[in-house]
Subunit: 211 residues, 2 copies
DNA sequence: AGATTAATTGTGGTCAGACCACTTTATTAT
DNA sequence: ATAATAAAGTGGTCTGACCACAATTAATCT
């Protein structure tokens, strides 16, 4: 199989083209997390580019958490849930208070959307895990809303929530110690399929003003 | 000033150390977006590493959207409040599961969130552009909600909307031909700061069931 | 002197080749 | 067959060489 980086065009850096090609290779060859990518030297030959350019692309993807390299073995696709990445970004980005607030605000709004969707979509059996979460004495907020985001049955929204959640954790804005009751309230609204009260209870949980 | 990469320790790849050092340099020198970083060759010397390693670090940060490089000029810190991250991850990950419905649904929910936030935040002067959009005979749906997303005053949310909008366009899910009146209705609710009716009108616009 | 033009310098972009450290595989000796 | 050894494969890093482009400086022409 022959891949070929755009040849004569001098614009658009080579390493970006390689990233593109890698995406194609992954997609065409249906590579899954854990699978091995072609070696740096092989890619260099196949794409007609220098090995250093290949490395620039791979290192970038590695920092993003999309691949993993093991010396002497090779480069592998990773199961990405990039906490590493987010942490890195956060140390770079998060000095900006406005950005901080944006993350929090967005997370809350997405959670409310998930709540609405989940209420529309859930079936009696699918909320069993959610019920279990509120059994114990303490409720793990992250797990709680992760489950709700799953119940929303929208992969895209779930991914967005996961990313925001990573950011959120990196920000070290711990949710204020919350009462288990508040989660139970949400659950109650949930089972009544009452969106309005669910939202109301969410506002209480997050200490948001009702408007 | 002398920076020095951990010397004898052979573990922990060099380029990662350089990323670390760069962060320190940025912080210590109080570099802001737009400012120039030391050149690759200078970093190479100062950190006692090869230029190729410096480039691996810089390319990775570039792909992350944290820095920007201009040939012949140098490397500059970028205004990275926009979180390129979501975009990158989405183009990489979402390929296989871009269920049209998820994209559409998510876009609609985000738009509703923007609507809510915009109503909270807008000032009389800031909605002038929005008013202009609904003057003509036809209303550009994309522009309309782009403006609303801007009025929401949340950069992250705006970014998310932009990406969703791209997907939306790519998927060729054209908004059904809509009546100008519906946009006027939304505007009216908007100016009354009436979220409930704004949402109601949005549902009409999108032909969604009210629940 | 002032403006224009040309040469020089600085910077990122890319490639090629050379080692090193480590892992896997093949070969050989027992 | 098993174990020890050698070879090959792979990522990690450095060096040096060009190229393309931008900014600066020097030279030249009014």
């Amino acid at each position: 199989m022959i891949y070929e980086v755009q040849s004569p065009k001098v614009e658009s850096k080579v390493y970006l083209e390689i990233v593109k090609q890698l995406r194609m290779i992954i997609s065409k060859e249906k590579l899954k997390p854990g699978d091995k990518l072609p070696s740096e030297r092989e890619l260099s030959e196949r794409l007609n580019v220098g090995r250093s350019s290949v490395r620039e692309a791979l290192r970038a993807l590695e920092l993003l958490g999309l691949i993993e390299t093991r010396r002497g073995e090779g480069t592998f696709i990773r199961d990405f849930r990039g906490n590493h990445l987010v942490q890195l970004l956060s140390t770079f980005i998060l000095e900006d208070e406005k950005a901080k607030n944006d993350v929090m605000e967005t997370k809350y709004y997405i959670e409310m959307d998930c709540l609405r969707l989940a209420i529309d979509n859930y079936s009696d059996s699918s909320i069993i895990p959610l019920k279990e979460l509120v059994q114990g004495n303490t409720v793990d907020d992250e797990q709680f809303f992760h489950t709700i985001a799953q119940l929303a049955d929208n992969h895209l929204l779930l991914r967005i929530w996961l990313i925001l959640n990573d950011y959120f954790n990196a920000l070290e804005i711990k949710p204020s110690e919350t009462n288990r009751t508040l989660y139970l309230d949400i659950m109650a609204s949930f089972e009544n399929k009452d969106k309005k009260s669910a939202l109301f209870n969410y506002f209480n949980l997050r200490n948001l003003s009702n408007s």
